[in-house]
Structure formats: C-alpha cells, structure tokens
C-alpha cells in the first residue's frame, strides 16, 4: 500500500470528546481529550511519571461548601471517578497534577453558577493535595479545551459565549445513588 511519507511522519492524533457528566482517561500519548465549556467545569488531571491523564466535565446546580449538599456529594464523586479511572491505568494520586478550565458566567443575568462549580473543583483538589498547575476559569467567554492528557499538555481557546452549550446542570442519576447490596 502506498503511504504518503509526509502523512506518515505527522503524528496521527485521535480526538475524544468529553461530554457533560462523563469522565475520559488515556495512557496514549496521541489521544486528545476535547470539550467545549460554557459554565461547565473540566478538571484535567495527569500523572507525568505514569503518563496517564484524564478529564471530567460537569455543571452542578447548587454546589456549596456544605458537606450535606447533594450536588457537593455528586461533584466530589465525579472528581473521585476521574482519579479512580486513572489509577486503573497505572497513575498514582500522589503524583497527579491538575488544570481546571471553564466556569464562565456566560449570561450576565444568571447566577454565578460557573464560579461556584470552579470553586468546588478547586476546593476538592486543594483538600486532596493535588497541585493546580494551570487554571483558566470565570469571565464571560466560553472555552474550547484540547488536552493531550497523557503528556499533560493543554490548549484552551476562548470562544464566543454564544458557541457554548446552554448551562444545563448535570443530572444526578437519582435511582442508582447509594444503592446497598448485602452479601
């Protein structure tokens, strides 16, 4: 089969879109995790030694500092899920570093929901002693984030707020929450 040498030399990168409510992780150095954020937050974590990285993407309606709040519970769960998926690929929590993106307050008349979500992510990372090496949060723009996760390299471009998806909070899957099974 004929292969164009120029094409062969260029690294073939595959892109994985991280939808709201999802977690994606990879140990492949050519995989780009990508998403568009309005008020939503994406936490990007990576372990530079294991070369494993991942991203989540969420927006909670009313996260606050109260430990009894259902949205706070769910936010912490989505952060933990990202960490656990990375552990399965060989990452160690003690080596992880973080970027956080998003949390724009796109519409002037809206409650600062984006800001409260970025505060939740930041609070979690501080509590877990995970260093935030880069943050681009707040403001009134939307953002397009491309994260070369295994290498911990991100690009965050600001785009017009109109390009962002509407600020719809991530639904908490009520039925399955805290199901108990006795052995």
């Amino acid at each position: 089969m004929y292969m164009d040498p120029k094409l062969q030399a260029a690294p073939q990168r595959s892109r994985v879109t991280v939808m709201q409510g999802m977690v994606e992780t990879t140990d492949q150095s050519d995989v780009v995790l990508t998403t568009v954020l309005g008020s939503c937050i994406a936490a990007c974590l990576f372990d530079p030694i294991a070369r494993v990285g991942g991203m989540n993407h969420f927006l909670l309606a009313e996260p606050n500092s109260s430990q009894t709040n259902a949205d706070t519970h769910y936010g912490i769960y989505l952060m933990e899920l990202l960490i656990n998926e990375m552990l399965k690929q060989g990452a160690a929590k003690s080596r992880m570093k973080a970027h956080i993106y998003g949390g724009g307050n796109i519409h002037k008349n809206m409650q600062p929901i984006g800001q409260r979500n970025s505060e939740l992510a930041e609070r979690f990372l501080n509590t877990e002693n995970i260093i935030i090496t880069h943050r681009d949060v707040g403001g009134s723009n939307a953002r397009r984030v491309d994260f070369l996760a295994a290498l911990g390299k991100a690009r965050c471009r600001h785009v017009d707020g109109a390009a962002a998806p509407a600020a719809k909070p991530t639904p908490i899957p009520v039925k399955a929450v805290g199901d108990v099974e006795f052995f």
């Binding site: 430990q67 009894t68 706070t72 519970h73 769910y74 912490i76 769960y77 952060m79 933990e80 899920l81 960490i83 656990n84 552990l87 160690a92 929590k93 003690s94 979690f124 509590t127 877990e128 908490i172 399955a176 929450v177 805290g178 199901d179 108990v180 099974e181 006795f182 052995f183």
Partner: protein, 123 residues
C-alpha cells in the same frame, strides 16, 4: 444509657472522609478515620469499631487487602465491613464477598441509605 455505635471509615480521600464524617455524626454515630488499609489495621490493634466502612482504591493496602487481614485477625473476625466505592462490577463485588465483606454500597452515597445499612449490620 445505650452505647453509641462507633464507625471506622477508611478512605484515602480527605473530601470523602469529611462527607462521611458529617453524614454519620449528624445521625448520632461516633466516627474514627483511617486514610488507608495500613492505618486502619494499626488503629484496630488498639481500638474497636462496631462497623467498618472502607473504600477499595487506596495506596499501601487497598480495601480487599484490608478485609482479608481483618477477617484473619481473631479480634475482628465478626466485625461488619461495608465497602463504599465508585466501582460496581460483579467481578469486584465477588472479590469483596469472597474476602468476607458484609455489604457493598455504590458512591455517590445517600446519607439515609448509608445510615440504614449501618443500622442493619451493627450488632
């Protein structure tokens, strides 16, 4: 006066230990904490809990290892152990059951369901 039920929570996440602490204290339980299986075993050498709630993914000694060690010790052989985890695969549940876990609770936890599970297994 009835003795307060004491719970040992084992989780490497400080955020998760704080959520558990608030949920259990609010419902009248006493709470002790360990950040992984090794610390839990050290604590259990000189202390006692009525129920142990443990995460699976932890450094040094994970939840499966903790359950096995607790079950092979003479002091805590009958201690109820609830696993609290983001995992829900049948394979992992089976591993926990075989190791001697009492029950399995999927995160994110609901404080009421958690308290009901603790009441059911505490003796």
């Amino acid at each position: 006066m009835e003795k307060t039920t004491k719970i040992l929570t084992v989780d490497d996440s400080r955020s998760m230990r704080a959520l558990l602490r608030v949920a259990l204290l609010e419902r009248g339980y006493d709470v002790a904490e360990a950040e992984d299986g090794v610390e839990a075993l050290e604590w259990l050498e000189t202390n006692s809990a009525d129920v142990i709630i443990t995460d699976i993914n932890m450094p040094r000694l994970d939840g499966f290892g903790l359950i096995e060690k607790v079950r092979s010790s003479s002091r805590h052989i009958d201690r109820p152990i609830l696993v609290l985890t983001t995992e829900s695969s049948d394979e992992k549940k089976k591993r926990a059951r075989d190791a001697g876990a009492t029950g399995w609770i999927v995160k994110p936890f609901d404080p009421e369901k958690l308290a009901a599970a603790v009441r059911r297994v505490a003796h």
